[in-house]
C-alpha cells in the first residue's frame, strides 16, 4: 500500500451497536498498541477456552475503541470487535519488523514486556524531537516508517563518520588502493540501494587525535587531556 494511503485521515468504520449507528475512527499509535495487546490476550484466552478472560479482553478492546457495550447483545459486539480489528490491523509490515533476534540470546536485565514500544517512542523522540503525545498520535504505519528511516539514517551517519577516519579504509596491497569498509548492517538493510558510497578525499580526512566532545564516549579522558 502506498505510504500516503496509510496516513489518510478518513480511516474509519461505520458500526451498528444495538439500535445506534456509530462511526469510529481508526486508532492512532497510542490506542493501536493498547488494542493490539487486548486483541492478543483475547485471542490467547479464546484458544485456551477461557471464556471469562476472553470476554473481559474483548470488552476492554471495544471500550478502548470507543464502543458503548452496556446492555448490547454479545453477537453484535463480536461483529463490532471483528470489524474494528480489521480496521485497526497493520496494513504494512516494514522490513525492520521482520528482523528476528537470536532466540538463544538472553534478554538484557533491564528488559521488560513491551519494551520494544518504549524503544520506538524513544527513538522517534530522540531523532525528531517529538513529544510522547505527538508520537502516540501518529498512524501506526507512519510511526513504523519513521522508526525505520531513523535506523537507516543512524547507519548512514555511522558510515559517514567512519568515512572521515582512516580507520574506515582497508588498504589492498595487491592493487595498491584503499577501500572503504562500511559498518556491518542488519540483514534487512543489506542489498543494493542504488547509491554509490561517497569517498572522502584523503586530504579532507581529519588528522590527529579526534576528541569526543559529546560526553558520551568511552572513559578516555586521559587521552583527551
Amino acid at each position: 500500500m502506498h505510504f500516503l494511503d496509510l496516513i489518510r485521515d478518513d480511516q474509519q468504520v461505520e458500526l451498528t451497536i444495538g439500535e445506534t449507528t456509530v462511526t469510529l475512527p481508526r486508532a492512532r499509535l497510542g490506542i493501536h498498541l493498547q488494542l493490539a495487546r487486548a486483541a492478543d490476550r483475547a485471542s490467547v484466552a479464546l484458544r485456551d477456552g477461557n471464556h471469562e478472560e476472553a470476554s473481559r479482553h474483548i470488552l476492554d478492546y471495544l471500550g478502548l475503541a470507543g464502543v458503548q457495550t452496556r446492555g448490547v447483545d454479545a453477537v453484535c459486539l463480536l461483529s463490532a470487535f471483528i470489524r474494528l480489528q480489521q480496521l485497526n490491523q497493520l496494513r504494512e509490515v516494514f522490513p525492520f519488523m521482520l528482523e528476528r533476534g537470536d532466540p538463544s540470546e538472553e534478554r538484557p536485565p533491564y528488559s521488560y514486556d513491551g519494551r520494544v514500544f518504549a524503544l520506538w517512542i524513544h527513538r522517534l523522540a530522540v531523532t525528531y524531537g517529538w513529544s510522547r503525545e505527538d508520537i502516540l498520535g501518529l498512524w501506526p504505519e507512519e510511526a513504523m516508517a519513521y522508526v525505520q528511516e531513523a535506523i537507516v539514517y543512524q547507519y548512514d551517519e555511522a558510515d559517514r563518520e567512519r568515512s572521515l577516519s582512516e580507520a574506515g579504509y582497508s588498504y589492498d596491497k595487491t592493487t595498491g588502493a584503499s577501500r572503504f569498509v562500511p559498518v556491518t548492517r542488519p540483514g534487512w538493510m543489506v542489498g543494493d540501494d542504488g547509491r554509490t558510497p561517497t569517498k572522502t578525499p584523503k586530504r579532507m580526512v581529519p588528522l590527529g587525535v579526534v576528541v569526543d566532545i559529546s560526553g558520551m564516549g568511552p572513559a578516555d579522558e586521559e587521552k583527551v587531556h
Binding site: 474483548i58 446492555g71 447483545d73 454479545a74 453477537v75 463480536l78 471483528i82 480489528q85
Partner: protein, 121 residues
C-alpha cells in the same frame, strides 16, 4: 418464541456466551468455505444466512446436530440438555431465522469471513 412446548423470551447474549458461540461457529466457518457458492445462491433466493448455510451443508452436517443444539440453546438462553430432549429437530431449524434476525448472526458471520481474523484463533 415457542420452543419445546414452552415460551422463551429472547434476551441480549452476555459476552461470555458470545465467546462460546464464536468457538462453536469457528470450525464450521472453515467447513463452509467450499459451500460458499451454494450459500450465495440460497441468499439470493431470500434465505437468511444461517438458514442458507444449513441448507447448503446438508451433506456435511453429520457432526452438526450436537453443536447446532448447543448454539441454539445459547441463543435461546436455555440449557442444551433441556433443548435436546424437549425440542424437535424441526423446531430447532425453524427457530434459526428468528434467532438469526434477533441476534444479528448474519452480520457476525459476514464480518468473520470478510476479516479472516478467525484464522488467527
Amino acid at each position: 418464541m415457542q420452543v419445546g412446548g414452552r415460551s422463551v423470551e429472547l434476551r441480549p447474549l452476555p459476552m461470555e456466551d458470545g465467546t462460546r458461540l464464536l468457538l462453536l461457529l469457528l470450525p464450521y466457518l472453515m467447513l463452509v468455505d467450499r459451500h460458499l457458492p451454494a450459500i450465495r445462491e440460497s441468499l439470493e433466493q431470500g434465505d437468511r444466512l444461517v438458514m442458507a448455510t444449513v441448507r447448503a451443508m446438508t451433506q456435511d452436517a453429520g457432526s452438526m446436530p450436537g453443536d447446532i443444539t448447543k448454539l441454539v440453546a445459547l441463543l435461546l438462553g436455555v440449557r442444551p440438555e433441556w433443548l435436546a430432549q424437549a425440542a424437535t429437530a424441526e423446531e430447532i431449524v425453524r427457530a434459526l431465522p428468528t434467532l438469526d434476525r434477533y441476534h444479528r448472526l448474519s452480520e457476525l458471520v459476514v464480518s468473520l469471513y470478510q476479516s479472516g481474523v478467525y484464522r488467527r484463533w
